[in-house]
Symmetry: C2
Subunit: 451 residues, 2 copies
Amino acid sequence: MKFDLVVVGGGPAGSITALTAKSVYPGKSVCILKDIGDGVIPCAIPYMINTMSDPSQNMVGNKPFENAGIEIVVDKATALNTATNKLTMLSGRELEYERLVLATGSKAFLPPLEGIRQPGVFIITKSLSALTALRERTKSAKNIVILGGGFIGAEFADELSKTHSANVHIVEMMPKLLHLAFDDEFCDAITQELIKCGVQVHTGRRAVSIQGENRVKAVVLDDGTSLPADIVIVGVGGKPNSELAEKAGLMITKKGSIWVNSYMRTSDKNVFAVGDCALKRDFFTREEVPVWLASTATAEARIAGTNIFGIRVLRQIHGTVSAFSTKMGDVCFASTGMTCRTCEMEGFRIITGDATAPDRHPGTLPGALPMKIKLVFADRSGTLLGGQISGGPSVGELINALSIGIQMKLNVRELEMMQIATHPLLSAAPTVHPLINAAHNALAKLRAGRD
Amino acid sequence: MKFDLVVVGGGPAGSITALTAKSVYPGKSVCILKDIGDGVIPCAIPYMINTMSDPSQNMVGNKPFENAGIEIVVDKATALNTATNKLTMLSGRELEYERLVLATGSKAFLPPLEGIRQPGVFIITKSLSALTALRERTKSAKNIVILGGGFIGAEFADELSKTHSANVHIVEMMPKLLHLAFDDEFCDAITQELIKCGVQVHTGRRAVSIQGENRVKAVVLDDGTSLPADIVIVGVGGKPNSELAEKAGLMITKKGSIWVNSYMRTSDKNVFAVGDCALKRDFFTREEVPVWLASTATAEARIAGTNIFGIRVLRQIHGTVSAFSTKMGDVCFASTGMTCRTCEMEGFRIITGDATAPDRHPGTLPGALPMKIKLVFADRSGTLLGGQISGGPSVGELINALSIGIQMKLNVRELEMMQIATHPLLSAAPTVHPLINAAHNALAKLRAGRD
């Protein structure tokens, strides 16, 4: 088989690369090679346990590809020859390409823990059948231990607490849950929400072994605590799937990602890489960062899809802004750009601004929830570096106002003067909107520092 | 009495000017002069009828001013002498200022209609007592006619339809409701929502008289239709309250607003004006536009408050972007910047992009609603000119991502590559988010036009 463009991987990065390329270059033949036939939407995996009435609702369909005239091949690439432009597959077949995109994703990291390879331990994969099995198993579980307090772990804890049928424990090595995405006050609020939902949170603790014989029985922590467990869910991070690229001699970063330039091109000029398997640079520091998000992957995919048959200088990735959102209990949390914690680690001089207001106005309106915003700006210049928000569901899109602001190099003085839309039933009042007032608060500090 | 700064008007514009000035210049004495003792939050007026359990919830409190050390004087300014820097008040007292800010707002326009001055006709004011009287009266009304299909009229219609006790009619001269803020397809969706709520919509129709003897009985339209009415609510627009400024010899625009420069300074160097009474220029055309929004007023107020004792060049208003949001029935609508309609009126060459997706992912998740985005870009350059959105409550903040984008001169190529946060429970999928896909759609058209 031969195609103008072959995309390896059917996740968000691969799918959007193929669709973008087909839209920009309609005359080219495009194929997606994927090795999981029953792949699911990765971000929604935790919600397959309870929120969805049927886990198959989370299947990725092939309709958009059929409509676009993109071929799907279900097989696994085992070797890549960049001299002959050919992929060899598990079935023995070969795929020839003019351009190749590697969107091979990441795989869950398996901690070297005694007892981790026994029935009842679930490593999160993107396969419908494996996740359906986990869902079934959680129904009868009395005790569930989650290892890892990042987004996946915390979202599983929140989701599992909704079933009310099991004791749910979450274990995180770092001093706080979601330590990489938020500053302490937001991490603490997230922990409080989970505790309100009945989750038992163990931070600053490491699992040392998983006990059991033929079935999981307990997880032992580094302080000797033994947490009873019928199920252990492991969500402690991942690593890039870069073996195929590495064996083919493509340049690999020291953290194991496939090296790419700003146009998502690898060290071979006919091969691009996007998504979790490709090098992520931080938007501000330009250093390699292990932040894997579908929203970043799809931005990269649009860049690769556009540049694949001819570089367009304006379409380059400027680094990952790490824009996240999530929901714990009834409260939504979101973060974009740098936190105080990451600024301190990287040596950025900063000024912050905070503000809180009800998310409807007047705040006595039914359904009003408190909204809290923290903004991080570069000291002196006042450039927006990051923002964190908690509140009602509108947080999920308000974070994108900040995310766009960061990518447009918004300044604190500009933000304070921004005209925004407000409505009694949909937002805080224009007089006290936390987006503006947090900028005002930061400016007051900048002013005080100068007097 | 003498103050360093006197602000005339206690609405959003006056309040925020006073608070900003006091924050930037803490050593200066600041006074707010207001003529309504029981003023309410203007944007929330329609929701005082039914949504609020008690209309007094919408009162503007004096607490923030007391806390900031700002004096409140309840009286009415009757004359301004810019030579002596003095205001004369209805009580006969005088107020001397070093700097003056006019935030006198607008007043509802009273159409020259036979029978308009009779009991049962309500002109919307910002007084708690008047609005409480209207609320009481609506409880027993069987037939209510609203004149004016802009935001106020449409929001009153939506709110009154929730009481289920009256027939509600809305009458608008223009061919569509909310004709100034949205293009036809969004206007039509708004109309459909109101019809679903039981509202009877009469567009392209003008009221010619209000019938009744001592009490309103009916509204007669220009096609002869007679709509029975116990109450008539008039919301057909307003005009700037600029008499005080005009009598004092300040420059007034041909549409009756107080002329101001980019720093909100009037033709007298010690007098500034902000909010509905002050000249509004369009962000793109720089022409005078009759768009009165609390969110624009508060942006102007922050600019005036900062510049009042010394112009800061970076803090200037760049014109009104007209960012609105509202809710009709269960659907939220928002608009910012220019529509196709306003672009056509002004002769802008444009390209548009549309996209629709469920606002959760997968779209089968409980609570998911369709989200629709239309974006307007300048042809060739691709600069973002405007956006319209319909969908669930997150529309209320997503419009601000576009509003900030417009104010930062975001380009369609940049928007298509933006990294945004997404979450299954809070937003559309990253692969199909309408914010990105509408940009993609517009780019595809730009590309096709060039081939």
